[in-house]
């Protein structure tokens, strides 16, 4: 009899608890946590888990706890498609964050569009939001913004002839296309257009050709380790013209790989997280960046990375949309489009029906590498 009473009590407790706790806000996430793009997926996953905990500790979104369903795509587009279906059909999420790479995002996009689930990609490729689809958004700034930042600075210094040296992967080919377009638009001259493979260990051949073409500056577009090799080769060949890098190498790892001596004087557009301890106090992002980096260091023991920031921003944007509009997929979608001055890690977001990225030139700072550290160019 006593046993029965106990069971009754437990049942009552469970049922009452069920009515007190609101239905969670289920958000799906697809990151390439393992595989070749793990350097993107790992910080994204860590950041998302950390942020969800933080939001729930503060009482959730409008009283609703947040639940993140995170899957590992291993960087494989086919797997990303399967897992997106799983998130939508089995887990019934209201929105999806990710995937980490452009290829995976392009593979998942047709599904989320058909099922009408907002997708906020953490990949940079411009194809994701251009042309704009009502259901697809992204948090990393477009490559052409970084390119424009470089060219604006270079033009200010009177440089007119440029050489491109880009890596033959998604990031490099997208950057190459954007830069060529920008150069033409600004009436600047492209005198050499060279590429290198992601795993190449020597770029002197390309650089010798570039030197022969006589440019005013070299723009190199890639992610580690290629650009580090380029930097060392430039030094070895004694090429004296300015070398610009992309935002893809805006981490201390690059300076380490290239050696501080060779990297001295290299200029690049960097997201503000890279130089968060050097930007002005008055910068709208200053406080958020400091807090994010401190929290990340405390939880995971390493410095926060720009990539984790993409996931951070995606969740913040969803939360802002829910607070403004409501928690259904349709309300989140229209809420995202109305995003106005939401401060994030990658920049300050202001979206519209025609702009599903919402970042502008202020997302980057031009920095110069000086004595193995970043220095903001005023």
């Amino acid at each position: 009899m006593r046993k029965l009473a106990m069971v009754w009590m437990v049942l009552c407790l469970v049922l009452s608890a069920g009515t007190v706790l609101a239905e969670p806000l289920r958000i799906g996430a697809l990151f390439s946590i393992t595989g070749p793009a793990a350097f993107l997926g790992e910080p994204e996953k860590n950041t998302l888990e950390m942020l969800v905990k933080e939001i729930n500790a503060k009482g959730g979104v409008k009283g609703q706890p947040v639940e993140a369903v995170i899957y590992d795509t291993t960087g494989d587009p086919t797997k990303a498609v399967q897992l997106a279906t799983k998130l939508i059909k089995d887990d019934k999420v209201v929105a999806i964050i990710g995937p980490s790479t452009t290829g995976e995002t392009m593979a998942v996009k047709p599904i989320t569009e058909k099922e009408q689930i907002p997708l906020i990609s953490c990949a940079a490729g411009i194809k994701i939001t251009d042309p704009v689809n009502p259901w697809t958004f992204k948090t990393p700034a477009n490559d052409h913004i970084a390119g424009e930042k470089i060219l604006n600075y270079a033009v200010g210094k009177g440089q007119k002839k440029f050489a491109l040296l880009t890596v033959s992967d998604g990031f490099g080919s997208s950057g190459r296309e954007q830069l060529k377009g920008l150069l033409a638009k600004k009436g600047l001259e492209l005198v050499a257009d060279e590429t290198f493979g992601p795993k190449d260990t020597d770029m002197t051949a390309q650089l010798t050709k570039i030197r022969a073409a006589g440019p005013d500056a070299i723009i190199c577009w890639g992610t580690n380790p290629g650009p580090a090799v380029v930097t060392r080769n430039v030094k070895q060949l004694g090429i004296k013209i300015p070398l610009y890098m992309s935002h893809g190498v805006a981490s201390k790892k690059y300076i380490e790989l290239a050696t501080p001596e060779a990297a001295e004087g290299v200029m690049l557009p960097a997201g503000k997280l890279t130089v968060f301890d050097k930007i002005k106090e008055s910068d709208p992002q200053a406080r958020l960046l400091k807090e994010y980096d401190a929290a990340y260091r405390k939880t995971f023991g390493v410095e926060a990375s720009t990539f984790g920031g993409y996931a951070y921003d995606a969740l913040q944007l969803i939360v802002a949309a829910v607070q403004k509009n409501g928690a259904s997929s349709d309300q989140i979608r229209s809420g995202l489009e109305q995003t106005s001055k939401v401060v994030g890690v990658s920049g300050v977001f202001t979206m519209s029906a025609g702009d599903h990225n919402g970042l502008d030139l202020s997302a980057f700072e031009m920095v110069r590498i000086t004595a193995g550290d970043w220095a903001i160019i005023q």
Partner: protein
């Protein structure tokens, strides 16, 4: 032959009733990809399991199918079916052309040559940006359609893919039971002996290589029209090795084994997701254990386990009494 047909009919019946049990959702979507991988594994098994010729470049034929279909339909506005057959014909011819010099090689050298071919094709997908879209992929491929029936849901795709896969399996079973199949197995055991018996080994090897390429190419076209987006990373060297694993785990020379191997390697990671961060370790361990204790593949292994169980069970019964 009749027994073989009954076996196939039973298998087909099971495959076609699966959607009724699964009832949509995510699993059905994964099963569509199991169907595609089955075609690819069967294609490789014809070559490796029967004729004994290794290929590490299967992903290239798969990718060529996908890219040719994608480019012909999305860029040039062809009818998807026409594109599928055109791609299959083109890839068949290509395989025939490279088959003659490549299949003169044996063992490790053949593996190297096919590996090289696979890598060349991968580089073309990656670098010929103006046509293939390069590393960031090729979007906007239209779906397949017969009359007014559009294959735009998982259920419809399931039937499309599996009908094709079953047809290919039936063809493969037929082929292996024919005179040609026996000739292929003869080549597998000893090419010299086969030639002495009057088998045109050289031509036959090239033919089965081309046949395997065409099947892979069709699978690629179907993949492109089902997913509607393709990128080079799907068709890399890694995938060729995965296919090889499917065939070996399933059992060399067993068509149903290939299907089982494809199903296992595609579904296993999904079920292992419960292990969270350790899923890859468990996956690797399972593969090692399977190859160690079932060297003949899953189908043979299952038969051995069954016989063992039969022998052990009565013994246990006696013990209890």
């Amino acid at each position: 032959m009749r027994r073989e047909l009954i076996k196939f009919a039973l298998f087909a019946a099971v495959v076609l009733t699966v959607p009724a049990v699964v009832k949509g959702g995510y699993l059905l979507n994964v099963l569509v990809f199991v169907g595609i991988n089955t075609m690819l594994a069967v294609a490789l098994n014809l070559l490796l399991g029967f004729a004994g010729q290794i290929s590490l470049g299967q992903a290239a034929f798969y990718g060529l199918g996908a890219y040719l279909s994608g480019i012909l339909t999305a860029t040039h506005g062809w009818n998807p079916w026409l594109a599928l057959f055109a791609a299959a014909a083109a890839v068949g011819l290509l395989a025939f052309a490279i088959g003659f010099p490549i299949l003169k090689l044996k063992g490790h050298y053949l593996a190297m040559a096919t590996l090289g071919f696979g890598i060349i094709v991968y580089i073309v997908f990656n670098e010929y940006v103006d046509v293939t879209g390069g590393p960031s992929g090729f979007p906007g491929i239209p779906g397949l359609q017969i009359g007014d029936l559009r294959f735009d849901s998982d259920l419809k795709s399931y039937y499309l893919i599996w009908t094709t896969a079953l047809l290919i399996m039936l063809l493969a079973v037929n082929l292996t039971r024919s005179r040609i199949g026996r000739a292929l197995r003869a080549i597998h055991d000893s090419e010299v002996a086969a030639r002495v018996l009057g088998v045109n080994a050289r031509l036959l090897k090239v033919q089965v290589f081309a046949c395997s390429a065409v099947i892979s190419c069709i699978a690629g076209s179907l993949y492109a029209h089902t997913v509607t987006f393709i990128s080079p990373s799907t068709f890399g060297f890694h995938f060729s090795v995965e296919l090889l694993t499917m065939v070996i785990i399933g059992g060399l020379g067993s068509i149903y084994g290939s299907c089982l191997g494809a199903a296992l390697l595609t579904l296993l990671p999904e079920f292992l997701r419960t292990f969270q961060d350790y899923d890859i370790v468990v996956y690797g361990l399972l593969l090692i254990v399977m190859t160690m204790f079932m060297p003949g593949g899953l189908v043979q292994g299952a038969a051995t386990v069954w016989r063992l169980a039969l022998r052990l069970l009565p013994a246990k019964g006696r013990g209890d009494a």
